[in-house]
């Protein structure tokens, strides 16, 4: 998908319609990221609101020449969600967050979103190698840096990039054909 730079610039100039279009393009994925971190629909909904309010208020801090808009959104969403899991109330209410990954969510969830290919993707994703599930979970869903992922997975730093590329390549074949 080509990045909609026109819409982004319009939103930066206060265009609510452009903001609404961007929301419909990215909100579902961002919701998925947040949910994979907090594992609670109500909390994830509230955080999704917070994230997009932040996006509107801080729109000018993003530049279309520097980084992907989606990556910018990812960073805001992951930071907001991780901050929320650090609150005392959140810690008291749930456990074992770190061991749950996106595949666990896919396997346990019976209310997958309406996207027609969700069921198919679920089947493919289940076929991902366990090592790939780990690395995608950490680098993409949890926002780990290379060094952090290398330490957690006990893989040499130089291997992380290529391992990740191979895994995402598999994923691309499954999802995009």
């Amino acid at each position: 998908m080509e990045q909609p730079d026109d819409l982004i610039i319009a939103m930066q100039n206060g265009d609510e319609k452009a903001f609404s279009r961007l929301y419909s393009m990215y909100s579902q994925a961002i919701y998925g990221i947040i949910y994979s971190i907090v594992l609670d629909e109500k909390i994830a909904e509230e955080l999704l609101q917070d994230v997009f309010i932040k996006v509107w208020n801080n729109a000018k801090t993003y530049s279309v020449n520097k980084g992907r808009f989606f990556t910018w959104l990812l960073n805001i969403a992951r930071n907001t969600a991780i901050d929320a899991t650090r609150s005392k109330a959140f810690k008291n209410s749930r456990k074992n967050l770190s061991t749950t990954n996106f595949v666990d969510i896919l396997s346990s969830s019976d209310s997958l979103n309406k996207k027609t290919n969700a069921i198919g993707i679920k089947k493919f994703v289940n076929a991902l190698k366990p090592a790939c599930i780990k690395i995608i979970d950490l680098l993409y869903f949890k926002g780990y840096t290379q060094a952090e992922a290398s330490k957690t997975l006990e893989i040499p730093l130089g291997t992380i990039k290529t391992r990740n590329r191979t895994c995402i390549k598999d994923l691309r074949v499954m999802i995009l054909g």
Partner: protein
């Protein structure tokens, strides 16, 4: 780095994930600008990751967008209403409050002034009432004196001053012998010195017997300079002497101011 090397390095995947250090990210950005293939590759990586995240997402409620919209609009509305409130209703409100306060202060002052003048008027009324009472009393006394002067029961005598002591003095007496009442007009007497008082005597001539009738003093006053005396022996003459305060038992003849017969 060649096109192939960049694509195979795994940096593009890390770049989309946001896990690339800044210097390597800059390298990727330059490559994206230079090679359309790199850009395309990046877009495909992003697309697959985006769809993966969508797959994980629970159904998204419409309310979320409504809430976001309300939140960003509220920020605007609050800003606007702040300005508007400052401009008109707040100013009108304060102005009204100030006028209202001013009005109350003015009314309090009015009430205070009225209370003060009411108090002054009440005091004046009391003073006037007292004066009226005084005048009424004086009028009653004067009428009584006038009745005496007109009455046929009273004889009037002018008693001359004693040539040795007070040649210019005189006193007028209105005498009712039947009831033993006398009014003495002292206008012709000099004002007595301090600590002295005039005393009136009823006199029998053969032998000379003085009897005190009373003192020319406020308790006997019956009008402007006129004194009333009662219950004294039937006199042949009246004498008035100057005596020490409180009067004397017998007249001090050296201070005999007035002497005159009243039996004619």
């Amino acid at each position: 780095m060649t096109l192939e090397e960049i694509i195979e390095s795994g940096k593009l995947e890390m770049y989309v994930c946001g896990a690339l250090p800044p210097d390597e990210a800059l390298e990727v950005e330059n490559a994206i600008e230079t090679y359309p293939e790199v850009k395309r590759e990046t877009e495909l990586i992003e697309e697959s990751l985006l769809q993966l995240a969508e797959t994980v997402s629970p159904p998204l409620q419409v309310m979320v967008w409504t809430n976001i919209l309300n939140a960003i609009r509220n920020i605007k509305t609050i800003d606007k209403s702040k300005v508007r409130k400052l401009n008109l209703p707040a100013i009108i409100g304060w102005a009204a409050a100030i006028v209202f306060m001013g009005g109350i202060m003015w009314m309090l002052k009015q009430t205070n002034d009225l209370n003060n003048s009411l108090r002054v008027t009440t005091t004046e009324n009391t003073v006037l009432k007292e004066e009226k009472n005084k005048v009424e009393t004086q009028l009653a006394e004067s009428s009584e004196v006038l009745d005496v002067l007109r009455s046929k029961d009273y004889q009037s005598y002018t008693l001359p001053g004693n040539q040795a002591v007070a040649p210019d003095a005189f006193a007028k007496v209105y005498l009712n012998k039947k009831e033993s009442v006398a009014y003495i007009d002292t206008k012709g007497l000099p004002i007595p010195p301090r600590g002295k008082v005039y005393q009136v005597w009823s006199l029998k001539m053969e032998p000379l017997t003085p009897t005190s009738v009373g003192l020319i003093s406020p308790e006997n006053l019956k009008g402007d300079g006129i004194y009333k005396f009662v219950d004294f022996p039937d006199p042949e003459a009246f004498g008035i002497t100057l005596e020490p305060a409180g009067g004397s038992k017998t007249p001090t003849l050296s201070q005999l101011y007035i002497l005159g017969k009243v039996n004619i």
